[in-house]
Structures are given as structure tokens and as C-alpha cells.
């Protein structure tokens, strides 16, 4: 019965999907800024996303500096206080958000395209990125708020697990340091550090400007010119240092008084421009990235009833980002869960996906591709990534064929090339068990 239903839909679709990919326009400004633009007139709105190579990986010895700098950008500009600056945006209905992770720091402005509103919003954005005053009082306040944020980290097994996991994977590499800092590092940060960080990393040569919305190319060019012109003029940041593999197995327990034990298993894996990325993507989809039907999830959840959420994912980054299998289980099931995860993972690593699994994963990824591009917000995210990691402009156009081209052997090779099962890191967060549970 269902086969009749399915066969009807199986083949008709792929060709049509390419229509979902919007044409990307790209240009580089004289000041080094790189602009990416998709014109879209469906709604009278525009999204502008500025991405700087100014994430936590640039913190040096002052963990948290990148995040603090990002948070302080709009806390006083050109002599106006934070409330006045925010009012200029908010009174015309614009929304500004910012953030930073390990590779990137960003600001995202969404505005109406009604000329007066857009003018005022862009003007204010230029003021925010171009003339941050970093007032001393704001500096103290935001640093203090980050310290409160760390208290929240210390009551979250999930956050504690992540910090320990990155530290174990990366050691002294910049990725090992927590982007939200530590009590100790935040105490050492001075206002001048923030000013220096801003001048170095919020430079015109270090920004990708992604724009999606109901404006034309000339407007987009003017806008990119105006924003990047306001930035400190300077070059792109140098590449991050390479990651040195740990070379040995590592197991760690973070003691925490919780009802569940959080488990993370993984290793540094792929750079964003790695040629294995599509094979790894398809493989991870089969393994633990494809939702309820993926191997790890269905085994842990449906077969054993061990966890609510089990998944694997990888974070392709400027330098090899982590591959991680994660779950949370009742404390007395932790040993058993690790056993189950290892078994499923090692089997997959050695044998790769079955033809059926491979096919299902490819259909899900290709069939779901239009869902990745069905809003301006999602498209501007892709543009930022393409720009930041210098992916080819036809990345989205060739996406489907590159997924389709992946073979089971490609997946097996990619996983074996990037993952060494003998040097996996295993982090647990939870109460120390008295004796190993059997």
C-alpha cells in the first residue's frame, strides 16, 4: 500500500528543487570588506548580517574577550548612551542582535525597507560598529553580567559538559578556551583590551556583509560601503593555528549533582573546506544527525528507552571542529549507554552505511534542501557562511549533486580518515558512581 504511495513521488522531484536556489551576487570593496547579496522582493524587509573573524578563537589568553567586545558594541556610541542608540533602532521597528562563538562574531540587523526606517536603521548600525565608546561603566557592567552568566553555566550539566569536552579536545589550541570566559580570565580583562580587540578584529578587511531583502544592487552596494566605511580600516585576521591531535584516549568525569548523566564522545574532525565534507554530512545523517530515524537515536530511544535525546553532529570550522556524539541518561544507565553508543558507532565506522541507509539519508537531505532556503533569515545565514569560509559561490547550486554523488565507500573512508576510535574523548557530567554499575 505505502509503496504505491511512495513510488508516485520518488523521482519527480529533484530537478524542480534547483529552482529554490537564489542567485547570489558578490563583490569585494576597496577597503577589503566582502559583500554577498540576494535580492528578494517578497516582503518589504531587509536582513543585514555582519560576520567578523572575531570569535573566541581570537581571545588569546583572555578567554571571554571576544564575547565581551561584541556585547559592548552597542552600549554607548558617538557620545550617545545605550538607550538612545537602541531607541533610534527600535522606534523604526528595526531589530538588532549580536553574538559570538569560536570562529565568528556577528551583528544581525533586520529592518523594514520603508526608506526613512531603513535610512535610520542603517545609520545606527554604522554608528554601532563604527563608533563604539566602550564607556567604562558599561564595561564594568557587561563584564559583571558575564560573571553572572558563568553562574548559570555552573548550574547546567549541559554547559559544563561542553566546556570540559572542548578543553579535552583542544587543550591549549584557541578552540579549547570557553567563549564565555572564566571567572579568572574575565577578572584580568581591562577596557583597553576591548578597545584593542575591536580595532584589530572589527576591521573592514575582516568582515563579511551578507544582505538579503527588498532592495536593489545599487542600494546594497551603498549600504555595504557605508557600513564597512565606518569600521576601522585594516586587514583580515591571520589564519588560526592548526590543531594537534591529542594522540591518546581520554576519559573524564565532571562531578555534578544531577538526576541524569550527560555524555559526550568525540574528537576534532573537519575543516569547513575539507573535501570530505559532503560524505561526512551524509554519513553523520545516517549515524545520528537525521533525527528520530538515525542509528544512534533509534537505538538509544526506541530500542532501549535509555534517553530522550541522542544525536551526533559535527561543526566544520576554520580549523578542524569537533565531531560529537551526545546523550543524557539516568545516572545508573551511564555505563550501559556508553557501551551502546560505542557499539553502534564502531560498527558504523568499520562498515559504513548500508545501501538502504545511504539512500534514505540522501533522500532526506536532498528532499529537505528547499526547507533550508525558505526564508530570508535562512538565506542570509548561508550567505554569511559562504563568505566567512570562502566557499565557492555555486555552493548552493551544486549542493544537491554533491550529496547525490556520495557513495557508501566515500562515507566509510571519510569517517575512517577523520575519526580514530582509539583516541576518542569521553566526558561525563553527573554524580560519581560508587562502583561501576553492572
Amino acid at each position: 500500500m505505502r509503496h504505491r504511495l511512495l513510488s508516485f513521488f520518488l523521482f519527480a522531484l529533484l530537478p524542480g528543487l534547483a529552482l529554490a536556489v537564489p542567485p547570489i551576487q558578490h563583490w569585494t570593496l576597496d577597503n577589503g570588506a566582502r559583500a554577498y547579496f540576494v535580492e528578494s522582493h517578497n516582503l518589504p524587509i531587509v536582513d543585514i548580517r555582519l560576520t567578523f573573524d572575531a570569535g573566541g578563537a581570537r581571545d588569546g589568553t583572555l578567554a571571554g574577550l571576544a564575547r565581551l567586545t561584541n556585547a559592548l558594541l552597542d552600549q554607548g556610541n558617538g557620545g550617545q548612551d545605550a538607550g538612545e542608540v537602541a531607541f533610534r533602532l527600535e522606534s523604526v521597528g528595526a531589530r538588532l542582535s549580536g553574538g559570538s562563538e569560536r570562529d565568528m562574531a556577528w551583528l544581525h540587523l533586520r529592518s523594514l525597507t520603508e526608506p526613512q526606517a531603513l535610512e535610520q536603521a542603517v545609520d545606527t548600525l554604522a554608528l554601532i560598529v563604527g563608533k563604539p565608546d566602550f564607556p567604562p561603566a558599561a564595561f564594568e557592567r557587561e563584564r559583571s553580567r558575564m560573571l553572572v552568566g558563568l553562574q548559570a553555566v555552573h548550574q547546567s550539566p549541559d554547559e559544563l559538559g561542553n566546556r570540559a569536552f572542548y578543553r579535552a579536545l583542544y587543550g591549549n589550541h584557541p578552540y579549547g578556551s570557553p567563549p564565555d570566559g572564566t571567572e579568572e580570565s574575565l577578572a584580568r580583562i581591562e577596557r583597553q583590551h576591548v578597545i584593542d580587540f575591536y580595532n584589530r578584529y572589527y576591521s573592514s578587511g575582516n568582515v563579511v556583509i551578507a544582505i538579503v531583502g527588498a532592495i536593489d544592487r545599487a542600494q546594497a552596494e551603498a549600504l555595504a560601503e557605508r557600513i564597512s566605511g565606518a569600521l576601522p580600516q585594516g586587514p583580515a585576521a591571520p589564519p588560526l593555528p592548526p590543531v594537534t591531535p591529542r594522540g591518546e584516549r581520554h576519559e573524564e568525569q565532571v562531578p555534578f549533582n544531577s538526576a541524569q548523566t550527560h555524555i559526550l564522545i568525540g574528537q576534532p574532525a573537519l575543516k569547513r573546506d575539507d573535501e570530505d565534507i559532503f560524505a561526512f554530512m551524509v554519513g553523520n545523517h545516517v549515524l545520528g544527525g537525521g533525527g528520530l530515524v538515525s542509528l544512534l537515536t533509534s537505538t538509544m530511544r526506541d530500542k532501549h528507552g535509555l534517553s530522550y535525546s541522542t544525536s551526533s553532529h559535527f561543526v566544520p570550522s576554520a580549523q578542524p571542529g569537533p565531531f560529537v556524539i551526545s546523550t543524557q541518561v539516568r545516572n545508573d544507565s551511564a555505563d550501559r549507554a556508553i557501551e551502546v553508543l560505542r557499539e553502534v558507532f564502531l560498527d558504523f565506522l568499520h562498515n559504513g552505511p548500508t545501501p538502504r541507509q545511504l539512500e534514505l539519508a540522501k533522500r532526506n537531505i536532498t528532499g529537505g534542501f528547499p526547507l533550508n532556503l525558505n526564508s530570508n533569515r535562512k538565506i542570509v545565514g548561508y550567505l554569511s557562511s559562504i563568505g566567512f569560509y570562502r566557499l565557492p559561490l555555486d555552493y548552493l547550486d551544486t549542493y544537491l549533486e554533491r550529496i547525490e554523488a556520495v557513495t557508501a565507500e566515500d562515507v566509510r573512508r571519510a569517517f575512517q580518515r577523520h575519526i580514530d576510535p582509539d583516541t576518542l574523548v569521553i566526558v561525563r557530567v553527573g554524580p560519581q558512581q560508587e562502583a561501576p554499575a553492572q
Binding site: 538612545e84 531607541f87 528507552g305 530522550y308 532556503l373 533569515r377
Partner: protein
Amino acid sequence: MHRLLFIVLVLLALPLTAASAAERPQIQEFMLKNGMKVVVRPDHRAPVVVSMVWYRIGSSYEEPGLTGISHVLEHMMFKGTTRYPGGEFSRIIAEQGGRENAFTGRDFTAYFQQLAADRLPIALELEADRMRNLRLREEDFRSEVQVVMEERRLRTEDNPIALALEHFNTIAYPLSPYRNPIVGWMEDLEALTVADLQRWYQRWYTPSNAILVVAGDVEPQEVLRLAERHFGRIPARATPKQRKPVTLTSPGSRRLELSLPAELPYLAISFQAPSIATASEDWEPYALTVLAGILDGGESARLPSELVRGQEIAAGVSASYSAVARLDGQFSFGAYPARGRSLHELEAALLEQIARLQEEGVSTDELERAKNQMIADHLYQLDSIFYQAMQIGLLETAGIGWQKLLEFEERIRAVTAEQVQTVARRYLTEPRRAILHLNPISGEQG
């Protein structure tokens, strides 16, 4: 993976409508012969569709002893039917490039699929099948209820603020079933049986208690035709009429001091307030919505300006109000003290902000800022077809009706400074107030 949509409060408030006629959503509604409602929102920007089936059943319908049953049933809906046993549903959707999930709230249980638009018939066939043919097996239930308990441990028991708010709800809603945790109390989960679920399914999963919402690259007439084919043949069944639960609108001042293993102190203040469904004067929920925007609609709003910057007494503060609810809801505040400041100081400062607003009212600038932002936010939401389908489902299951979407902008624009002050005086009062202090005690680690 089925996400529990907890705390409807946090759901950014409010259905906002379009800024101009050009963007006004063209929504169509149909009724099938068996009483099932179909609402279609065409949006042709991308060749995709989101399909949702909403049932008017959730934690606020649950009797004592049965809390969490709606949410457990949501999980069990993925366990298969005779025709599509086991995980076939999920497998087929995955194979079709779809994404699917489900969520349970106080007033609803909802299931959705996101797909390429021409695959809509698959989603409808599968949803119609599990509306009447679900197989509830003891063995699946035993394993799945364990999964739900893990979900509860993850979201509530190991999260001090969630745990505190769960306790707080029992005094913030002294009588209203909105006090029930959506995930259910652990003891109730332990006592739940497959026979309970069978009864719940029989009673509430009827065509006349369901709403199909489809948004995306579709034609309404075609959706109607498909809905008739798949859902139309399900026989009509009466849905039990539940009497509207009693709620206390003005229960008296309440306070909960809670000490939990945690690091971060936390303050919550809630006031009983009407929703669009319960308001006696229909402008009130909109005035309350604008009030929330004035207090906390951005960095220039009052609370961040006065308490986070200005006095530097809060490390973070929020105000929220949801106009979309079947029963009376709450106007709520949540806040973390700045370092070195106490919960008592923070409470006093927050209450002083409320008092000031009640006495002095709001300025034209603040009012216009808040309204402009809400109307722009509404327009921004049109960027997401998922969100549009959500709004329709929320309004329908709250008994308000999706048509209110179309009035929203007009209603917001009509709110006056005087009305904002009036609702602040009328609802942010001591007899409607409950206060929570979460005092951290250092946990025994390891």
C-alpha cells in the same frame, strides 16, 4: 525529539498582523462534514509546505493524577498503526525529505511535517491514519514512558529555574489547571497505564476536535480536496464537552521562597490577567501586550534601561504576557539580580517600576516605539511559514479563532496611553500577585 512546548508564556506573545493590505495574509477556512476544520494559508515564496494537525487537548484538560497524559500520548503517536507499524511514519517522512515533530502545550497537542509542497498528500494520509488507527501497545508504552521520564529529568529536574517555576505555578495558578506541568508530575508518569492512554486517545482524537493547518506553496481548494480524501472519511464522533475550569481571578497575594541546589538566584513575579479568550473588555489584552512591549520590548524599553543599566540592580530582566490562551493567563516578570544585589532589592526595584507606571503612565515616545516595533515584528514573522501556521493553530486551540490575526495591527495601533495605564492599574495588583524567590544552596557535588 518531540519537543515539549513548555510555558506558553514564553511564546513571544502575540499574533500580529500585516502592516498593509498588500501583506495581509489570505487565509481560507473550510469545515469537513465530520466537523474537522481546515485552515489554509497560501505563501508561494518557496516550493515548500508545512502541515500541522492540532488537537484541542493539552495539560490544562488533565485531571489530578493524570498530568502528563497528553504529552505521553503525543510520544506514542509515533509508535505506529496497523498500516504503518513501528517507526514507518517517521521513516517515510524522512525519505521524502521531510522534517517532522510534535509539541504539547496547555491547550493543545500538535503534529507537524515540513515538506516539498507536492508531497503534502503523504503527510495528510499519514496523519489521517494515526488519527483513527493508532496501535497503543504495552511494550511500546513501557519503553516510551521511560523516554518521557528522561525528558522530564533533562528539562525540569536538572534545571533549577524550570524546577522552581514548576513549583511556582502551583501558587501562581491556585485553582486553574494551568498549574499542571505539561510534562506531568513524575508520580503521575509512574502511575500512568496504556489503558489511560487508550481512553484519552478515544476521547479527544476526534475529527471535530482537530484542526488541520496548512501553510506554504499550496492552493486552498486543492488542500480542501486532499483533506476531504484523507480526513473526510473518518467518521464523525462526538467530542466530550468539558466545562470551563474555574479560575480565581484575584486569589490574594502569594509568595514562594524556594531553596534549591543552584548557583544563580532568580526572581519571578506573576499577576493573573485575562487573555483574548477571557477578557471582558476586548481592548484589554492588546493594551497588556503593548504594556509588555513598553517594559521589555528591546534595549530601550523600561526594564533594561532602568534596572539593567540605570540602577544596575538586575543582570537580566524580562516581562511577558501571552494574549493567546483558553483560560486566564499571567502577566509575568523574571529577573536575575546583578552581582552583589539581593532578590529583595531586585523585587523592590521591580515593584517600584510597576508602581511608577501605574501612577505616571507612559510617554508618547515609549508608546509609539513599542507599537512600531510590534507591528514591524509581525511583518518579520511573515518570513516564516512555520510561524504563521503556529499562530493559526494557537488561536484556534485557544478558542479565539484565527480571524483575530487580521485585526491585530489595527488593535495594537488603537491602544492609547490611558489604556496602558488602566490595565497596569487593574491587573498588576497585589491580590493578583505571586512572587517567587529561588535561593541557591550549594549542591553536594559528586
